[in-house]
Amino acid sequence: MVNLDEISRAIIRGDGDKALQLTNVALDERVPAKQILDNGLVPGIQRVGDLFESGEYYLPELVMAGDAMTRALELIDPILGKGDTPRIGKFLIGTVKDDVHDIGKNIVVMMLKGNGWEVTDLGVDIPPEEFCSAVEKGHYNILGLSALLTMTMDRAGETIEALKAAGLRSKIKIMVGGAPVTQGWANKVGADGYAPDAPGAVKVAAALVGKS
């Protein structure tokens, strides 16, 4: 019988091969996918987030753990999708217009997925109208706007204004992030949430949908 703590430990070590192998064994042993996620993968990636926030882990460890998590999730996602397992919520994310940085955003995506979010990643250099269109068409709980440059932070503010003008602002919570972004600036542009890093973003996102 696979010990789900072992899966957590494989994620914490960033050992993707081991995480994948143990997840496979657990599925063979008919452990419900939801249980593998909740008691194996999620505690692992949450611990990784804590270790990153406390300064014990750095980007290489975070990236390795995120990769291990993504590989294990690819295995159980189709099975989870077949059941009636509710995820935390739906998260729409993208890097704002004129900005093509994506590594920070991609780490946030990995961490959100690992923590039970269904994530739609629009990519980089996304104009306000494309964010508006996606918000209008989808049923998302949160929109995450990433801006890595002082010069492109304004684009995040412009996107929020465009959502207001299109009458869509009340439909969605908005989070902002990126190296130059601060809580004060997030408040100024009317965002609902801000976090300085990916693990923080997971916590703020959960709080915004009342699941912290």
């Binding site: 290489p60 390795m64 093509v100 590594i103 010069m151 190296a179 130059p180």
Partner: protein, 352 residues
Amino acid sequence: MGKLTGLERIMKAVNRQEPDMIPTLEIDIEPDVINAIKPGLSYADFCDYMDLDGICYFDMKGKRYEMVDEARHIARDEWGALRRFTPATPHNPVPWDPAVKSEKDLKNLVAPDPDLPYRYTEIEQAVNTYKGKRAVIATVMDPFNTVKDSIRGEVNVYMDMIKTPEFVDELNAIARDYHMRYVKHCIDLGVDIIWVTGDYAITKGPMVSPKFTERFLTPGLKQIVEYCHSRGVHCFKHTDGNIWPIFDLLVETGIDAIHPIDPTAGMDLGEAKERYGDRLCLIGGVDCGALLSWGTTDDVREAVKEAIRKAGKGGGYICASSNSIHNGVKPENYVEMVKAIREYGKYPLSLT
């Protein structure tokens, strides 16, 4: 003390002595800001116009990219990596797709040629024009950052550090060979200072652990520093971010100055001065994010005074922005910054 030249002023500061006044320079000034202040001037002419104490030259700035996708603004750099231009980064395109996607790709990697004479035309001109008047500085990318941004890609190299550390060593060696030869040519031409760019940290802290920093990052820097010193040339290091956990490792490489002590990343000039001011010169400290982009000229003046109060005493400080004068900086704020440095930076300092 009589009026010193820009070069003398910087050398005094680097040697942690008090010059006639606190020097100032910028590692980069974007053309939008130059054109708003004095239309049509080149970067070098603008440094002259503003009477800055040093002039920096990047390796093939703006000339090292071959456009491969006009519509998406994607270009190939000299290492074969793809990079993407945006209106916000017209001169520093963002890494998009690395040259070496797998270990097997390594055999196809063709390093740029550091011996090409046209690479050094601008530096040679600068040495002829400014030698002895202003510090002529050649900036060189940190070998690790070339591996990260061009050769292997950021996420790949982080995973390599854990999975195949020897492969990172191999890539670092390739990058080092290029950069060492570039540095040698610059020094042969007579530059006064080598300034190694490329970040080791993000706002939260170092990108990689101190152990990995020592294993993969600082050896390349140390090799450049030791070579510069063997030729009697000073070597500066630039890195964004919060570097407190790796500050000692940086100092141990023997660098003569550290830049840019970014207050928005938790770096404090006063604390840096207190802890490391007896071992190296500090450069920077004036926030080029919110302050220079959106602040008032009064805010800028106060920030300059604060920086001088914290780091100016006894020399060892070059006042500059916390990164560079990018396109988002209000031109009037940069003018005010330089004016305030000249006004409040005269030794003996009147600010306490």
